[in-house]
């Protein structure tokens, strides 16, 4: 198989992830409060930043630019590791300072923990 066609198909996949990122960003405008916007942020970071970096690193490996490929793979791995963690810490601090009100609230684990301890 010719490697140029593979690279072309992979770069079409990057367009797909760009559209996913745009949909996630539109979620920032559509959703009503902070806790719902966390969902949009997840769509934007994992679908719109983790996957394209993976695809781009594969493109770089096919084109024999190994240094770029390794560093993009590393940054994709770091996004996968760090983005949910940072969002978790941010959401917890926001809840405990009562900055935003959780609107459709089903259960409240943090309040139960604070009451028990």
């Amino acid at each position: 198989m010719n490697s140029e066609y593979v690279v072309f198909i992979l770069s079409l996949l990057v367009i797909l992830t760009a559209i996913i990122n745009l949909i996630g960003v539109l979620g920032f405008y559509r959703f009503k409060n902070f806790y719902l916007r966390l969902h949009a942020a997840t769509v934007s970071t994992i679908g719109g930043a983790f996957y394209p970096l993976l695809v781009l690193s594969i493109i770089a490996f096919i084109e024999k630019e190994h240094y770029i490929g390794v560093s993009l793979l590393l940054s994709a791995f770091l996004i996968l590791l760090l983005s949910p963690t940072g969002t978790h810490a941010l959401a917890r601090a926001t809840y405990r300072k009562r900055i935003a009100i959780p609107e459709p609230l089903i259960g409240d684990k943090i309040k139960e923990e604070e009451a028990s301890s």
């Binding site: 760009a18 970096l53 969002t87 405990r96």
Partner: protein, 89 residues
């Protein structure tokens, strides 16, 4: 290879501009930090695409730096919200 990457570069730029509006306006301060976070991750992808197109290694390194500083921003802000200061426990 180049033309689809340039198209996706435009789409990513549009989403960073939309996020910048949220960073300036955003209803609460947590929304501002969250959208700045997503904007940093998205601009790291923009840097990666540009680095692939022109074949530059320095831009590929800068993606790692942007991701790390976005995480540091998150943790710093949540610590500031909870404790009001950086060095306290």
């Amino acid at each position: 290879m180049t033309i689809p990457l340039v198209i996706s570069l435009f789409i990513y730029t549009v989403s960073v501009l939309l996020l910048t509006y949220i960073v300036v306006r955003g209803p609460t301060v947590s929304d501002k930090v969250l959208s700045a976070d997503v904007a940093l991750y998205t601009s790291s992808v923009i840097l990666a695409i540009t680095g692939i197109i022109i074949g530059s290694e320095a831009m590929a390194i800068c993606t790692i730096i942007l991701v790390l500083w976005a995480y540091a921003l998150d943790l710093y802000f949540s610590k500031y919200l909870e404790r009001g200061e950086l060095g306290e426990q």
